[in-house]
């Protein structure tokens, strides 16, 4: 429908009383795209790193996620097992095929049954990492890729995320800077996740677990 394209662009330009942009104006806009400018960033997103971690926890819990903290990465498997036991949840886990996750001492938790793959219908519990945590709203930022299938974030009833506190940043903009700094191509899917799935569509009474996970649990790793 090239005709539709040309018609829309022509009508837009007629309305704006000008032709296609060129010259200085075009260069300015291209520069704006190449070097994005930040708008106002809320003060709450600009504290010290320890304040950002505290803010992240507070906001994630406000969004009804649950948060555990462990000192070292190697403590995470035990924390995951303890969470599942405490909540009386299945011990069969589908885990993101991520090298850093694989390096943790999961074998120490003999009750856990782990598969490393994308999620399928019927999977009850997933374990993933996240690309970053965003303090201002207690949000997780997850990027799709070979080692982080997106289905893990949505199909299981329980989603457990292991997040080093060092990956927590203040604002959304800090997260985008972090992503751009990797120098890699834009992932197919980036998910901001703030709390477990919910719906208020029946009488505006909020219920958790509409289509995505009923539980979102984060194990924060301090070291």
């Amino acid at each position: 429908m090239n005709e539709a394209r040309e018609q829309s662009l022509a009508t837009i330009r007629r309305g704006l009383k000008r032709g296609p942009l060129d010259g200085t104006r075009r260069v300015e806009l291209e520069t704006r795209l190449a070097h994005p400018l930040r708008h106002l960033i809320p003060t709450r997103a600009q504290g010290s790193h320890s304040e950002q971690v505290a803010m992240w926890i507070r906001m994630a819990e406000y969004a009804l996620a649950t948060v555990d903290q462990v000192a070292r990465p190697n403590d995470a498997p035990a924390a995951v097992a303890a969470f599942l036991a405490r909540e009386n949840l299945p011990t069969a886990i589908v885990m993101a095929p991520d090298a850093e996750l694989a390096a943790l001492p999961w074998e120490s938790q003999s009750l856990l049954h782990i598969e490393r793959r994308a999620a399928r219908d019927g999977d009850q519990v997933s374990v993933t990492t996240a690309f970053a945590g965003i303090a201002e709203t207690g949000t997780l930022m997850l990027c799709s890729g070979p080692d982080s299938p997106t289905t893990l974030n949505f199909l299981p009833d329980t989603h457990i995320v292991l997040l080093p506190t060092a990956w927590i940043v203040g604002s959304y903009e800090d997260g985008w800077d972090l992503l751009r700094a990797t120098g890699e191509a834009m992932p197919r899917t980036i998910n901001y996740i703030t709390g477990p799935s919910r719906s208020g569509d029946i009488e505006q009474t909020m219920q958790l677990g509409a289509h995505g996970p009923l539980r979102l649990h984060i194990v924060l790793i301090s070291a």
């Binding site: 005709e3 837009i12 994005p36 709450r44 793959r117 899917t189 799935s197």
Partner: protein
Amino acid sequence: MQVTTQAFQRNAGAALHNPALQKALKNIKIGFVRKRAAAVAKLPEFEALREAGRELKNHVLDHLDFYLEQFETKVIESGGQVHWAQDAAEANQIVLEICQSVNARRVTKGKSMISEEIGLNDFLEAHGIRPVETDLGEYIIQLRHEHPSHIIAPAVHLNREQVADAFQAHHAPYGFTERREEPRALMDEARQVLRQQFLQAEVGITGANFCIAETGTTVIVTNEGNGDLTQILPKVHIALASIEKVVPTFEDVSLLLRLLARSATGQELSVYTTFSTGPRRAEDADGPEQFHVVLLDNGRSGMLGGEFQDMLRCIRCAACLNHCPVYGAIGGHAYGWVYPGPMGSVLTPQLIGIEVAGPLPNASTFCGRCEDVCPVHIPLPKMMRHWREQEFARHLIPMTTRFGLGLWAFVARNPKLYRLATNLGSWLLRRLAGGKGRIRSLPLARGWTAWRDLPVPQGRTFQQQWATRRENQS
């Protein structure tokens, strides 16, 4: 869908006398108004962000052609396809052809008001493709063969009993034979039924809250996660977006995200904000193999440079609906088309014509609450007034109204005549009241006296009394 905008008056009357609807509408105050106020109070920068949001959207609209072309280039670079549609018919045809190209029988859908605007579901069904709405509210109204009554809470007009009826009528084939009424149980039931639909669909169709020019990325915002299951499980993801949804960069989207959820549901951020760029990468373990963006114009480009350009700033948060006393009294269906409330009263005449949508911009007291809560400061009352001006200029208002207005104007332009008229009016009303302070029934003012007494003038007019006082002083 059937357009009933012209029957607004009758629709509104029916809505006021619909007890189930009236009960459901009470939820808006608790569900949205108070939560928004609390969220705004928690963010000291909110007002400054609103200003920035307005400026950003104005910048985009002033360079809309540039950003659309950039967006298109980037979508193609990342392996996706862009389809431009002038109107609903073109957009429907594009979607149909994509579905047919993969022999799709079933499509799942995330919530999209553009899909409502183009009537996509009816069109697909007519061509043998079964669309399944997956947003819980959308799903409920799809079962009931209704349209959304609200742009973010499509089933806000319903109570649990009505949801229970709909599920009982449709869920037996899925093994649910028992009637349930608890919201929790109803939602679990829908979750199980829809999970199968997600897994079986060949195409997933979502809307797009934003289109990012920097990278050719579309953004959806949901709380349920239905939009995500819609777009990551099937082979094909189609995102429907209207042309004004484009924004330059991730920084710009970040600004609008800070405004959107707070204005909409009073959340700090919606549960899921998802950024989609192209189809799955070769190494990815999941995600769609094809990514299509349909860019719908449908008259929007014609709003640029005119008195309705500001409406294109709208980010569809629904705060104007939630805070509108008229919407709160009658709900969304009375407005008679896709977009209800103040934003609909401005947008609908543009999309389907003021000849048809005339009553909508008149159904406002101009109380200004909509503009007051709009996250991007759209002057909604001003634009409703512009529509009234067009109606007046094009003689689309009733002759009697026009005559009455003309007569009043003639008198008001002649102070002496006006004095005579008010003196007479004052005397007449007081006489009709027969010494009482008010009149219970006045045939010429039946609209008023059917439900209210009419207080009558205290005595002679102010001007009469003032003149007397001046005479006595001199």
